[in-house]
């Protein structure tokens, strides 16, 4: 899993690339939460375009980031969510907490 981050004008963008499972979940949480603590962003965009596979570990990752951002009064937006990852997130009901931008083909 490749994790790339960029902070600009109050917005932290995180690009995830690879398969999101339990094996990489901890690494993502640590990396992103460290960035959040450092930049104190107003919003956090998670770009899922490069995520070809995701299981329930992804739900916990997004929840953790959501909780940290909520403590700071910020928002989480999920971008470029693929059809399969969407199916997993829909079951979890997490879509009631975080914003999801339309899937781009």
């Amino acid at each position: 899993m490749k994790i790339t981050t960029e902070y600009r004008h109050g917005r932290l963008t995180v690009w995830l690339n690879g398969e999101l499972d339990h094996h990489v979940a901890k690494d993502i949480i640590e990396t992103v939460c460290r960035e959040i603590d450092q930049c104190l962003p107003l919003s956090c965009f998670i770009d899922m375009k490069g995520v070809g596979f995701m299981d329930s570990s992804g739900i916990a990752v997004i929840l953790k980031i959501y909780k940290r951002m909520k403590e700071l009064g910020g928002t989480v937006i999920i971008r470029n969510l693929g059809k399969h990852a969407r199916k997993v997130l829909d079951i979890s009901g997490i879509n009631r907490l975080v914003n999801m931008e339309e899937v781009k083909a």
Binding site: D21, H22, D55, S56, I59, H84, V88, I91, S92
Partner: protein, 147 residues
């Protein structure tokens, strides 16, 4: 039902093997000419079961996990994931959505995902002895599907 093919895999409960286990299951399932969506559903369900064995069955140690695949003559795939770990005292409770003993590292949605992505899910567990998860999914017949 007649078994037309099978595969048996044994792995140690290391998280690096999660990707390997679901990919192996997907390769095996590929013989049934599944759609991309079916394949993703199977991969996800296998990932959930194997991750459970790694995370919950052997929390402190490395133990053995067995993954068995079977293909039946009616286009059904069966996957069995077995461990000899801690076991589950109350399976019914464990299968409730959002029930987890894994703290905020986990979401408690694994069994719910297995249940909704597969046609059948059976969980047998004995505390201190281990857990066996069996899942079945009947794949669609598609035009040009020759086996």
């Amino acid at each position: 039902m007649i078994t037309v093919n099978y595969i048996n895999i044994e792995i140690p409960s290391k998280s690096t093997n999660e990707g390997l286990a679901r990919s192996a299951a997907a390769c095996f399932a590929a013989q049934l000419d599944p759609t991309l969506e079916e394949l993703n559903d199977i991969k996800t369900a296998v990932s959930e079961a194997v991750t459970n064995s790694i995370v919950h069955a052997y929390p402190e140690t490395i133990g053995k996990i067995s993954i068995k695949g079977k293909i039946f003559d009616d286009n059904t795939l069966e996957i069995t994931v077995r461990d000899w770990g801690r076991g589950i005292s109350d399976v019914k409770q464990a299968m409730q959505p959002m029930y987890t003993t894994g703290g905020d590292e986990r979401s408690g949605m694994g069994f719910t995902i297995m249940e909704s992505f597969m046609d059948k899910l059976r969980v047998k567990s004995t505390e201190g002895k281990g857990t066996t998860v069996t899942m079945r999914r009947r794949l669609s017949y598609r035009a040009g599907n020759i086996r």
